[in-house]
Every structure is written in C-alpha cells, then in structure tokens.
Amino acid sequence: MESILQEWQERIRQGKPLRIRGGGSKDFYGQALAGDVLETLPYRGIVTYEPTELVIAARCGTPLTEVEAVLAARGQMLAFEPPHFGAATIGGCVAAALSGPRRASAGAVRDFVLGVKLMDGAGRILNFGGQVMKNVAGYDVSRLLAGSLGTLGILLEVSLKVLPRPAAEATLALPAAQDAALALMNRWAGQPLPISATCWHDERLTVRLSGARAAVTSALAKLGGEVVDAGGKFWAELREQRQPFFAGETPLWRLSVPSTTSVVSLGAEPLIEWGGAQRWFRGALDAEVVRDVATRVGGHATLFRGGDKSVGVFQPQSPGLLALHQRLQRGFDPNGIFGRGRLLSAATTTSAADNGRSDHA
C-alpha cells in the first residue's frame, strides 16, 4: 500500500495534470474530463469498522458494494443511500457526493463524513477529522472535500458515520397531480412521520416509511394510499436511475430547489424526489432558461447526464464565490494538477443574485 502512495507522489511530482478515477462510474458527471488517469482501485480495503462506534473507515479504492456488504452484515448502512451508477468506489462516492432517496430525511454524504486522509496537489499527506462524531478542532476540511470531484487532491481514506438499518420499511403509493403531491410532501415533512423517501412521477406519489415497526404501521394507516409490495425494488431502481424516466440518451437536468417551490414548467413533466427539493427533467433544454428558472426560485441546475457540456454543467457561482473557490483550490493544489475545471467551469453566466451578466467565456 505504501508503494502505491509513493508512486502517486512521484506522478504528482512530474507535474502533468492528473484525473483521479475510482471505478469510473461517475465519468459522466461534471465538466469535461482532462488529464492522465490515476486509478485509485489498487488502494483499497476497509481500515477499521466498529459497529458500536458507528464508524467505518476505508481506503478510497474500496468498492462501495464491499463497504455496504460489510455494514449490512452488522445491520448497519450508509444512511445517505448513495447511487452506484456502476462499479463505484467509496472514494468516488465521497468525491462526487451524490446522495440517494433517503437524502431529505437522513442527510447528504457530507453530513456523514467524519474524517479524510488526503494527498494534496503537492503530494503532501494530510489528516483531517477522524473517527469521532463531534470534532471542532481546526476547520472542517473533511466536509469541504465531499463533493470536490477530485479537484483538491486524492481522498486516500475516508471515515464515515453509519447508522443502524431501520427495523421496518414499507412503501405506499397514491394518485396525485404534481401540485397536490408537492403540497402533501411538504405537509408531511412538517409532521413527525417516519418518511424516508418520496417520489412523484406520472401522476403518482410514492412514499417510503422507515423506522420502528410500530411507527411504520401507524404511519401507513394515517397516510392512506395503497401498499406497494415491491417497494424495495422501486427505491433501488430510483436510486440507480434505472426507472424508465431515466432511460435513453436525452439530456438529464437536475434542479435542486427549495422543497416548497411550486410546479416548475420546463416542457416535459419532471420526476420529483426529496420531498420536492430535487426535480429531474429530460430534454434538450436551453441552459440559459433552466438556470434562470432555478435561480429565480433560489435553487440551482445541473446538467447531470448527457447533453452539451459546453453550456456549463454546474450553475455558475457569483464572482465573489468563484474567486474564493479558486483561492481555496490553489491552496490545496498550487500547480493545478488535479482535475482542472471538472467542478469549476470556465463558462460564467452570472446568476441573478449578482444583478448583472457577464459574457460566456
């Protein structure tokens, strides 16, 4: 294992741009890829797992399936329910920071990151955070690294908080128009109900309940609708975007908006998750229009999969925030070795918040 790290340090020393790659399952995600591939797969293995501490630590190249299997054997799970989208590794999972159906109730990837061992752009090996639940010594660099898409360094090792799997789980579905479904999801979210996932599509609202047996049973009775027997399959397919809505090559847009945002119209009907906070759209949509809509409601839009990335995959930052991002990036990667531009796009349409527009670069 040591020799792998030395080899990586040597490659960093050579100074050529590198693209960190785990299983390649998120190659589709982010701005265009650049640099020579640095494979993390050989650097693998679970470092520690202590069920009573609710913590697992693993090297970046460890397959996500392996982590999940080890946890499942002890009745625990990664509560943010990350999608795999292929042969995902735990390092890529944290670097991409994509969360699944449980996100709205349990939290996102960053909420569970406790510590990170990083190799930065100067080949330095740095330890941040650790294995304990609470830690405010120094800045919270571990959480900053979640979602950094390999642009700040190689996440050599991550430690994550894990949770017990719920004792019981059930799925129900009911017919609902989009506006009614949005209202219901928000109303329910304001009540002490064990809702762990929601999905609206095709005039149908599907809800998952998780928790103590008694809580699930009483919520089922309270919420009504019909019980879906193949609930497990439904959520697994949603998590991996294997439902028909996600099929085909048409560009897939993701809007992240306040959950109470009313119906957003962008041509085709969306698929809605996270209690209304995550809305998926298909179609060759005009990026400018999508971004304007997202900005107006206080959210942001991502060209998640497919389409023409030259319009910018991510919603551009305000100039002040972009400059801060660049300064942070330089701090970790002074020579710009890692994944240049995969996260911070060169395209700078300006968001409405800046009261102005600048030209596309």
């Binding site: 304990v132 405010v136 925030l321 330089r330």
Partner: protein, 499 residues
C-alpha cells in the same frame, strides 16, 4: 478566576492607530453603537471562560449589515484586528478581545426575519438566541434541534462559529446539520451568499467549512436554519450504575443494539451530588454513574424503543431503572443535566470545563485516568457528558484565589486533552479551540495540516485580521510550545508523534 491575558501573541498589531480608528468608526456608527469608555468595555473583556481577559480598543454594536460592512472595511483598511461576538457564552475564549482590536458584537441584530412553517425554515439575524428560534417555531409544531445547555442565552451566530451541539445532537445532528444558508461578510466588506433554501449548492461545500470556523473566516450576518417537527412524545429512561465502567459499556451496548437515542448522557457521582440539591431532579445519589437515555417519536414507537433500552440497560448491569412518567418528570430529569455547569459553580469557587471527544468504547478508560489525575493534581473533577457521541465535559474544580491552583488546573486540563487525542479523539467536540486550546492544537495536528489550515485562512482573510491568535496556532507557536512542554517535564505522553 482571573488573569489578564498576557500570552504570547502571534502577530504584532501594536502599531494600530487607536484614536484614528475610533474617529473613523464614529463617523459610520450611531453614538450608541460604539463603546470606547473603559467602564463600557469591561462588559466585553471575556466570554464564558473568564480566566482570560483583555480590553479592546472599542466595541462596535452594528444594527444592520451595512454597518457591519462599514466596520469591517474600516478595520481592513487600517489593519485592525476584529473579534466577532455573539452572546459571549463561549467556553474557549473565542470572543476574547484583542487589545489592539475591535470587538464586533452582533447582539443588536436579533430579529427573526421570517419563519416558513411549510418549508420548515427560519431566516434569522446572527444575534438571535438559540431558544428564541424554537419558541417562535413552537406554534407550528416545529423546533430548532441543536440545543446547547446555554440555549437561553447563546446566539445562532456563536452556534455557527462553534458548530455547537446539545443533548439531542446524537439523533438530530449538530449545527452543521441544521444550518442551510449563511450570509457572510468577509474582512474586506464583501457579502457572500453561501448555501440556499434547497438541499445543496454548486461548488465546494463552503457552508460546512464555515461552520465551526470560530469567527476566523468572516462575520455571519444572516442564517437560514432548518426546523424539525416536534415528536409526538418523548420519554427518558434513567439508569443507575454502581460502577462507572459498566455505565460506559452500557452506552456502547445501546448503540450496538441498533438504537439511536434522542439523547444519551452520563453524569458521575460528583456531578449528581452537585446538581441534586440545586435542581432536585430525583437523581440516585448512591449510584457511581447515571445514564439518561431518551426516546422520542410516536407513542407506539416510544413504547417499543423504551422497552428495548430497558432490556439493554438491565443486561448491562443497571442497579435501578426509572422511566419518566410524564412530561414534567422528563423535563426534571433533563433539568439536572442541563444545569450541571452552574451547579458545579455553586459548590466550587471556580471550575474549568474541558471538551475532549473520544471513541465511546474508551469512556471508562478515560474516566479512570481522570480519577487518577484528580489525585495527581489534588483537585476534584465532576464528569458530565454527551456519552452517546463520546463528548466529555470534565469540570475541574478549583479556587483561583489559592496561589497555584489555576496553573494546576490548566495542567490537569491539558493532560485530559492529550489523552483524548491519544485515545483516538479530539481536543474539542463542540466548544472550539478559541484562545484556550491553541497550544493543544499543536498536540493534535502536525505542521502540514496546520499549514493547510493557514492556506484556507488566507483564502478568506489574507491579512489575518479576523480573530487573531485563536483556533489555529502558527507553526512558530507550536515549535515554542513543544520546547517548553518538554522542558517543564510535563510531557505526559512522550510516545505521541511530534514534529
């Protein structure tokens, strides 16, 4: 306990032009928003850690964001240190003034700007008290989950700066899990909107970076916090143990059984003895330790969980188990825990609260080590802590009027912190490094990590004007500290890696 803070300062600000500064500030603030008289400044000379005191040149009390920007720009141009301050309840000297600087108090910005029950969000100014948010949300069946024991007084700005926790954080998360958006004014007066009212934002998670950054990166002028539905029912199980080790093991057993209690707290005999006469919570004074273990949810859910908790506690050797019969009793059980600090303050002239966090399984080991340290330093120590997340609060009791006691207390505290790091934990779980633990940071972090922190700092505040000498030590300071530490012969754990 008192001591003018005479510790070494990392950056020299002695050339700050005090009268020029005050003239510039009075041009942009109303008279009542600027304090410069020594008797007025006195009220700001320390935070909740009163062992360290200093008088600033001035205290600015802006009433709005424009004034905050004005103060920061002025200080930026003149190279003047700025220490943000909320309610001043911090326990690590984070809001300790800089004697060549300005204290920027956010206390006047205390309005709840909006509360949206449907979206379960509240937009608040930084000076809003933690409990005020929960009170405003209560009519909607909602509350703000992080509940530090200081919640009647502490401000949300301070909570953000410290990533504060409370007894319910095991299940509902810390401040970082409950704040979704911040408006930040940087030292040069620029306003940054970080986060939003959705569930994520593009780019780096700057929001997470800012939470817990102890006022070193910018000044929070507004925040949006998440509101949580109030559970239908909550009940607390109180278990007595005749052995502290068994209590520690019971904590791990509960988690191992797949239970995440809404709160899981421990108090040792010294703590219950201090609290009981004061609060009359009904604690078992014969027990070596008691555990408070809360369940919340629907009535059915609570019944199921309480039964499970009871079984585990019994198996772990609890000598007595009581379950709160009604809300009044539940509140009473917690009242003792929440009043532990002031209660210890009543039985001892002074106390010093530590905040190390360790893996749960090391709790018993740590408590035994602390007992040995009590003998070594000749000082008593009461232990209350967030057992569920391994966050200890040893309260070292001393009398500052007895020569040498404060010094012995500091050495005692430092030894606890070093042991926390050695046991795989951290020197601070929720109170922050502040001024107090700046040297202990040298024990926890190697110079490479510290250098990385400094690069982050300079991405926000290249001149190092925001809260200097706090939170992240200079490499120079750590080198000095390392030398002194060894010379004094106090290095308790020579096996610790050093640099």
């Amino acid at each position: 306990m008192q001591r003018q803070h005479s510790h070494q300062q990392d950056q020299d600000f002695s050339d700050v032009d005090g009268s020029g500064l005050i003239a510039a500030l009075s041009a942009l603030l109303p008279a009542e928003a600027l304090l410069t008289a020594v008797e007025d400044l006195k009220a700001y000379e320390c935070d909740g850690l009163s062992a360290y005191r200093a008088l600033p040149l001035a205290v600015a009390l802006p009433e709005n964001e424009a004034q905050v920007i004005g103060v920061l720009r002025t200080c930026y141009q003149r190279g003047v240190p700025v220490v943000a301050r909320g309610a001043g309840t911090g326990l690590s000297g984070g809001a300790l003034p800089h004697r060549h600087g300005v204290v920027l108090s956010l206390a006047k910005m205390k309005r709840i700007l909006s509360l949206d029950p449907a979206a379960r969000l509240a937009v608040v100014q930084p000076g809003v008290r933690n409990l005020a948010i929960t009170e405003a949300a209560a009519p909607h069946g909602l509350y703000y989950a992080p509940d530090p024991s200081s919640q009647i007084a502490c401000s949300i700005g301070g909570n953000i700066a410290e990533n504060s926790g409370g007894v319910h954080c095991l299940k509902y998360g810390l401040t970082v899990h409950n704040v979704v958006r911040i408006r930040l004014v940087t030292i040069d007066g620029e306003v940054l909107e970080i986060g939003n009212h959705g569930l994520d934002a593009p780019g780096y998670d700057v929001l997470a970076l800012l939470i817990g950054s102890e006022g070193l990166l910018g000044v929070v002028t507004e925040a949006t916090v998440k509101l949580t539905p109030k559970p239908e029912l909550a009940q607390v199980v109180m278990a007595s143990f005749d052995d502290i080790e068994k209590a520690g093991d019971a904590v791990a057993a509960i988690i191992a059984a797949g239970i995440i209690p809404a709160g899981l707290e421990m108090m040792d005999k010294a703590a219950t003895a201090a609290v009981e006469p004061f609060v009359k919570a009904g604690y078992d004074l014969n027990a070596d330790a008691i555990l408070l273990c809360e369940s919340d949810g629907t009535p059915e859910e609570v019944a199921e969980e309480v039964a499970a908790m009871r079984a585990v506690l019994q198996q772990s050797g609890a000598t007595e188990i009581r379950v709160s019969r009604d809300e009044a009793e539940r509140v009473r059980f917690w009242a003792g825990r929440k009043a532990a600090f002031p209660a210890v303050g009543r039985i001892s002239p002074d106390y010093y609260c530590m905040d190390g966090t360790i893996p749960r399984k090391r709790i018993a080991e740590m408590l035994k080590a602390i007992a040995a340290m009590e003998k070594k330093y000749g000082l008593r120590c009461a232990n209350v802590f967030h057992a569920g997340d391994g966050n200890l609060h040893p309260l070292i009791m001393y009398d500052a009027n007895i020569p040498g006691e404060l010094e012995r207390t500091e050495a005692f505290g430092a030894e606890i912190l070093e042991l926390s790091v050695k046991l795989g934990g951290t020197i601070t779980g929720e109170h922050g490094v502040g001024f107090e633990k700046i040297n202990a940071m040298c024990v926890q972090f190697a110079s490479e990590e510290l250098a990385a922190f400094h690069r982050i700092k300079s991405a926000f505040d290249a001149k190092g004007l925001l809260n200097p000498d706090k939170a992240v030590p200079t490499l120079h300071r750590c080198a000095e500290f390392g030398r002194m530490h060894v010379h004094a012969g106090q290095l308790s754990h020579p096996e610790l890696p050093r640099f």
